[in-house]
Amino acid sequence: MKFKVKKVDRSEGLKEALYIPGIAVGLKHTMRHFFRNIIGKKDVVTIQYPEEERPISQRWRGRHRLTRRDDGFLKCVACYMCETVCPAKCIHIEAGEHPDFSVEKYPVSFDIDELRCVFCGLCVEACPKQAIRMDTGVIGMAYHSRESFNFTRDLLRDAYTPNEKTKYTDADLPKPPDQQSALPNSRGIPAL
């Protein structure tokens, strides 16, 4: 059997051996960019991050939030679906009995360890009540202590309205609107 061998001519022509034409072509390109960016119309694609932000898609999986019912109480019924499905095992729920029998259960504590979360969005898909969502549009979370990343129930509930971007530091950790509505969690600590 005969193979067809295609011979590629790799011998350097005079043009390549001289280097100068090649360098001139390269310089033409770099200089075009240089002068366009220095004096002409700018092609710069940089987004000056803290001041400017890249527009994100509606489906972007950002920081979680817990949604509320019309009467303001959490939609979550503490069914443990999200905790079970979470591949990072970072949701920790403790269920409690709700005074309103039609609701039955509510999460006494609902902690998400955002340091472990892989932002896969499975919890959102698993929830039967549309109670957990990742549509806050918060893409950068940077705090000074590990504890700040342990998002508690009231933080998740109150911190954000959908797609509203908030500048956020430790000191700004939100307070619940009134302490009465913030039921103490299982550790007996009133939520923030």
């Binding site: 960016n37 710069v44 694609v45």
Partner: protein, 356 residues
């Protein structure tokens, strides 16, 4: 007043003043400026913005404060000497690099002479031979740094640097032979004066026009001497991290970097002097009644602007041309530049003899 003038007229005082002016007000500021401009201009080439964050309060100065920030940072950084390094050689290596970069400015005239007074630190008789001697001293910086760091990467870098710099010195010298023949001297002031003439009163007799081949070879060899891309195999960021100064940190590292940027300015100044007429402003001879101070000012600004343009051109080259492999660097030198330089010398000699 009389006393001050007499004091200023002392040759020694004048020398010191010239050194201070050329080093502290010309070479060093331009060199440090280049550290920022390299980053800014490369950003422009690559459609980025470049450094613009260093600030005092809300003042950012378009990134200018990064110069101060970099200097402060490297002063306060820990200055490590690696275990097993030869302390003495390790310490003096940056000085060699720095000194050889700075010493180039000693023979460069930045403006035309007024009477006996020359705007040049020293107009030594051997002229450019002094430059060759100084650049070969620069090799010691790289070699000592590489050998004394007790690191394999540094050793590789040092070996490459020595091989590259020593071989490119050959073409550095050879490429200027034609220039020496055309202007009849190796002394810088004579070469620059020779470039003040015009052909048919129109085209200035600059080195680029009399010695185009010599210019290309000399420029290439000088870029190789400064060890910048495309000849940055001794630093070889992608393979041997930073080459011969990989172990350096803090201010010592900075002095290597600063030496590199001062060398850029030095290269630009040298090429301006030898190939772009130095301080000679073309067609100025038409204006005979020009006041002396204005002529000197024009000469100085012409020299500075050409230096800046050539600095920019070197940076542009660096961000355009991909790096040569080390064997390619050597092949380019010995197989291409050497014949070209020799040919240039021979052809120049023949033309000069034929015209005479």
């Amino acid at each position: 007043m009389q006393l001050v003038l007499e004091f200023l007229a002392l040759p020694f005082v004048q020398d010191v003043l010239k050194i201070l002016f050329i080093l502290l007000l010309f070479a060093m500021p331009l060199g440090t400026f280049m550290t920022l401009m390299e980053r800014k201009w490369s950003a422009a080439v690559q459609d980025r913005i470049g450094p613009n964050r260093a600030n005092i309060g809300s003042y950012r100065g378009r990134g200018l404060l990064h110069i101060a920030a970099d200097a402060l940072k490297s002063i306060f950084k820990e200055d490590l000497i690696p275990k097993g390094a030869d302390k003495f050689l390790y310490t003096i290596a940056p000085f060699f690099s720095f000194m050889s970069a700075v010493a180039v400015f000693a023979i460069i005239p930045i403006a035309g002479p007024i009477g006996d007074f020359k705007f040049q630190v020293t107009d030594v008789q051997p002229g450019l031979l002094f430059i060759f001697a100084i650049t070969s001293l620069g090799v010691y910086g790289a070699v000592l740094a590489g050998a004394s760091s007790n690191s394999k990467f540094a050793l590789f870098g040092g070996t490459r640097a020595s091989a590259q710099m020593i071989s490119y010195e050959v073409f550095l010298g050879l490429s200027l032979m034609g220039l020496f023949m055309v202007y009849g001297s190796t002394q810088v002031s004579i070469i620059v004066e020779g470039q003040g003439e015009h052909w048919f009163g129109l085209i200035p007799k600059w080195g680029v026009f009399t010695q185009p081949l010599g210019f290309v070879v000399f420029f290439t060899a000088l870029i190789a001497e400064t060890k910048r891309a495309p000849f940055d195999a001794p630093e070889g960021e992608s393979e041997i991290v930073a080459g011969y100064f990989v172990e350096y940190s803090g201010m010592r590292w900075s002095s290597f970097m600063l030496a590199e940027y001062i060398a850029i300015v030095g290269v630009a100044a040298l090429i301006t002097t030898l190939f772009f007429g130095g301080y000679q402003v073309p067609w100025l001879y038409h204006w005979e009644s020009a006041p002396q101070w204005l002529v000197t000012l024009l000469q100085f600004s012409k020299f500075t602007s050409f230096t800046l343009i050539l600095c920019w051109f070197q940076i542009q080259i660096r961000w355009t041309v991909p790096k040569f492999r080390f064997d390619q660097t050597m092949a380019l030198g010995w197989k291409k530049l050497l014949p070209v330089a020799l040919l240039n010398t021979v052809v120049t000699a023949i033309i000069i003899v034929a015209l005479a």
